[in-house]
Symmetry: C2
């Protein structure tokens, strides 16, 4: 059967003050549609994967948020990590959990905080990906056709096209976030695609890959038969999961395995990695301003994003390329092009004013 | 006896979103000291005028605010205007009210929303002013020694010095807000002083002046003996006060009367007329920023004022000479030098989003 694993335990402060440790980005209704990014992720995949087979892996801390936002999800489909260990242990656990229920399963693994504009095209790609991994011991990642030399993404270089699977290539290399010059070369070459962190594989293939390339994780999470998908799973995980190394699936598996493929796709994707990405993904008015859910009266402002948690009015003038983000805890008025400094600021705030603002 | 009349019925949106129709400036704790401007006004005058003799004139709409902020004031000392008619009718009513209790009274009339930094010096000036108006049929106004060519104030030109009263002069002229060139001439001449709207007179002198220069107000508010300062006063006022012309005391009396004097004073005064005045009256950090009651982390900001109603954190960068004012209803991010546009914006907001934000 087809399964979906949604990873929704991440924490991030790049959208501070909107995203906070207690309310990470995936739980936010970013676009004012009434649905959080996580809810939109579930909505998006549900026509392709039976909702009964959608597994959420998150941090224990977010259990309540998950229950509030996704009351329809079965309790046994929520896997609660007792510690943050990046994506590899998370994916390995989910695979072992699914394997215990269905050793023939195929899995699509999704981040919970990305934007997809063309949902039909997304689902078609996932369907095609499933078909590919159902027919062999293959690890498939989706590669997004770049729309520009973005330096905020990792890139995947395509190798030979796979016979009978147009649009699917052997992966030649994974490349970390490049500088602008490199990114331009990548995009112009036509061989490089953005690494979206969306993976498809059979449960057998990914567990075999863990055994081979990350045996320490496979062993740490190696439970006697009958533990996974049983009442004993939680206790086992609470005791052993924290012992896993903290490592991403890219480092642990994808960059090492030989049977890695990339399916090149286009479906209006953004990782919404920070304000600039949100700005670019959002509709703009004639002055190039984005107004997230806000009543805004902007005079002589351009290239700016205005976001408020409440329905307050924002009156602004003379701002060029600014982030204006207002919550009940904090107000951020910051140049978009300096947003990488926000992370440091959040740390400074923590030191000066305490955890409550973070 | 000495009386004080505090005019506290004004409404203004120049400090929007802080001041609103439902919460005008005089009721705000502007400096985060725990006392509103009105409370500070009462505190300031109380050592000079018996609190029993402090009369508040305000709009009916603000009765609750007055009771909350000044619970110690006697009910009969609160005069509630049924309509807004500027300062002349307000002053005339208060005088008639006081005359009914004490025809020998002298009165200092104060605005409720100004700042005075040197309170001892202020009280000394008021004492000296009382002595002056206790000895004759004279209308006295205080003239603030200018600290610069401010174009936001009206000016008073001094004439001949009054014998035996150093620092008190006949008024040669009242001058409306000048342009910058004129203001510079005024200040350099040494003959011009800011009109602070602080007046002293005997109750006989001001009522005589109303009879002479504004007989229509005197007649409209002319009640049979025994009405003022009685239970019948309120009903009389409710019926007749709205018929008064809407006119300031300057136009109605001061610019016409011949017995008008100015006492020149220096006591660290500002009318806090708008954000710029508040900025100038407030302590600044080394970057020249003012942080009103706010937790602010400002990088590369200067000449700006940050004000928040709540204890939220404000993080800002790259702002020069800005107002950042945040309330639960609205957020204003506006260049200080364009603050005169705020009034129009508030009107536009009213049209677009309704009264609730104003």
């Amino acid at each position: 059967m087809r399964y979906c694993v949604i990873m929704c335990g991440g924490v991030g402060t790049r959208f501070w003050p909107f995203s906070r440790q207690s309310m990470p980005k995936q739980f936010l209704d970013f676009f004012g549609t009434g649905r959080s990014l996580l809810q939109m992720t579930v909505d998006r995949i549900s026509p392709v994967v039976n909702p009964e087979n959608i597994i959420l892996v998150t941090n224990r801390e977010y259990y309540k948020l998950i229950r509030e936002q996704l009351p329809e999800v079965k309790e046994s489909n929520i896997l609660l990590e007792p510690a943050r260990r990046n994506t590899a242990p998370c994916i390995c656990w989910a695979a072992k959990h699914i394997y215990a229920m269905d050793p023939e399963a195929v899995i699509v693994t999704l981040p919970s905080d990305h934007l997809v504009l063309k949902e039909d095209s997304f689902r078609k790609s996932i369907e095609e990906g499933f078909e590919f991994v159902e027919n062999g011991n293959r690890l498939l990642t989706l590669g997004i056709k770049p729309t520009g030399p973005n330096t905020g993404y990792g890139y995947i270089q395509e190798g030979e096209v796979e016979k009978n699977y147009p649009g699917i290539y052997k992966v030649k290399a994974f490349v970390e976030k490049p500088n602008l010059e490199m990114a331009e070369l990548f995009v112009n070459s036509g061989e490089f695609f953005w690494n979206a962190g969306i993976f498809l594989w059979s449960v057998r293939a990914i567990l075999e890959a863990f055994d081979k390339y990350s045996p320490e994780i496979a062993q740490t999470l190696g439970a006697p038969d009958g533990v996974y998908a049983s009442k004993r799973e939680r206790d086992f995980i609470d005791r052993h999961f924290p012992d896993c190394v903290n490592i991403s699936i890219d480092y642990a598996i994808m960059e090492k395995a030989q049977n890695v493929f990339v399916k090149t796709v286009e479906f209006g994707w953004s990782d919404l990695g920070a304000w600039k990405a949100l700005y670019e993904a959002s509709p703009k008015n004639s002055e190039g301003n984005v107004t997230q859910k806000s009543k805004v009266l902007a005079t002589d402002c351009s290239g700016s994003i205005f976001a408020s948690e409440s329905d307050k009015i924002i009156v602004a003038a003379g701002l060029r390329d600014y982030i204006v983000a207002d919550t009940d805890k904090a107000l951020l008025i910051y140049p978009l092009k300096e947003e990488q400094k926000i992370r440091n600021i959040v740390n400074e705030l923590k030191d000066r004013f305490g955890e409550e603002y973070i």
